[in-house]
């Protein structure tokens, strides 16, 4: 596959609802107006309905029913609503093609597991929990592009992976000449994701560059660890799953004690089960 083929495949994908692009961009803004954005969300009826259904689910344990986005914003906070709306819109943007052989439910289980794990780890590296969640949810987005746009070749990549018991990226490189991280970052650029999320999508399998002491850990490093940890916690329920290599620098940069590790594993498992019911399409 040439870079042109990738950009054509990405260009042919449906564009994101305008309000979602705006919400993604607003993640890095300090001076946003929650009410104006809430009003915009309301203009997309399908998104509003799905978001309200989530806001009323047992995950948030609301004492009374929330019926408007404005109400949901005031009860749950704007940051939670922004995460919910974005997650709803993105998980609904791809139509599974059975011919690709991709196990879509397992794909989403891993995406949700990585998102939850990134959210739980975020406070340990002073990264915004919502940004971490969205980046975790989207890190393998390129897989969806390959499986929905090129189902036949994708099936070959799956066969290659089974035969060689290798990482999916290695099989994709053998069949397509590119891997899901490269395709995902092309889509992230096309959809104008914030730069930190784009880097996380592009670099989640790479060994991160060392973070100088006192500097904040990059989001890409957090997603590298969260992706690995989600595989290691066996949350996708794929029989032949395997843990990708974890960079020692990234692991040490998080500096988790044994107690903190157990807490992170436990919280991730708990949150995952709640979130899965809501987010898997």
């Amino acid at each position: 596959m040439s870079p042109d083929d990738i950009s054509k495949a990405v260009r042919d994908l449906p564009s994101l609802p305008a309000v979602v692009s705006e919400l993604l961009l607003s993640m890095e803004q300090e001076d946003l107006d929650p009410h104006a954005l809430a009003a915009k969300i309301t203009l997309d009826q399908a998104l509003t309905a799905k978001t309200l259904r989530l806001a009323n689910s047992s995950f948030y344990g609301m004492p009374s029913k929330v019926t408007t986005i404005q109400q949901a914003v005031s009860v749950l906070g704007f940051h939670s609503i922004r995460t919910l709306v974005t997650a709803c819109a993105l998980t609904g943007s791809f139509t599974p093609s059975p011919a690709s052989g991709l196990d879509f439910p397992a794909f989403w289980r891993h995406a949700v597991a990585s998102a939850v794990c990134a959210r739980v780890l975020a406070p340990y590296c002073r990264i915004n929990a919502d940004t971490a969640f969205i980046a975790g949810l989207l890190h393998d987005l390129g897989t969806l592009v390959l499986a929905t746009r090129f189902p036949q070749q994708y099936q070959q990549a799956i066969a290659y992976q089974r035969q060689h018991d290798c990482q999916s990226a290695e099989a994709q490189l053998a069949v397509f000449g590119v891997d899901h991280a490269a395709v995902g970052s092309a889509l992230a650029a096309h959809w104008k994701f914030p730069p930190a999320i784009l880097s996380a999508v592009a670099e989640h399998h790479r060994t991160p560059a060392p973070t100088p002491p006192g500097m904040q850990l990059p989001l890409a490093t957090l997603i590298h660890v969260a992706n690995t940890m989600a595989h290691a916690l066996d949350l996708s329920e794929r029989e032949d799953d395997q843990v990708p290599p974890l960079s020692l620098e990234a692991w040490q940069a998080l500096d988790l004690s044994s107690v903190a590790c157990s807490k992170v594993f436990h919280e991730t498992e708990q949150l995952y089960h709640d979130m899965c019911q809501m987010l898997t399409p």
């Binding site: 047992s58 290691a232 916690l233 395997q242 974890l246 960079s247 436990h266």
Partner: protein, 111 residues
Amino acid sequence: MNHAGKTCDIALDEAAAGMTLAVALLDAKGSVLLPQDAALTAATLAALRRRGIERCVVWSSEPAAAEDPAMLAQRREQRLRRLEYLFRHCADEAGSQALLAQLQIYRQEQP
């Protein structure tokens, strides 16, 4: 609020104040009437009856029977073997080995 993880599906007439929901109660449209882990009160029970709810699933208050130690050991062994399988290609990665060590401690401590 999880009472040893055991649940009971009971008729609303058998439900009493003080019991805890193990599964959220939904109305016909799928909206949540009461979330999971909500404690039932006389007032909520009356409201649920008015809404025509007939059954609910609550956490069982019975203590879980003590598990056979051999079964527990077997389950731990299975979890550790699964971990080894998941990490099958990471033997040379120091970061992966550090994560594996923490997960082995975590899985051993689980019941």
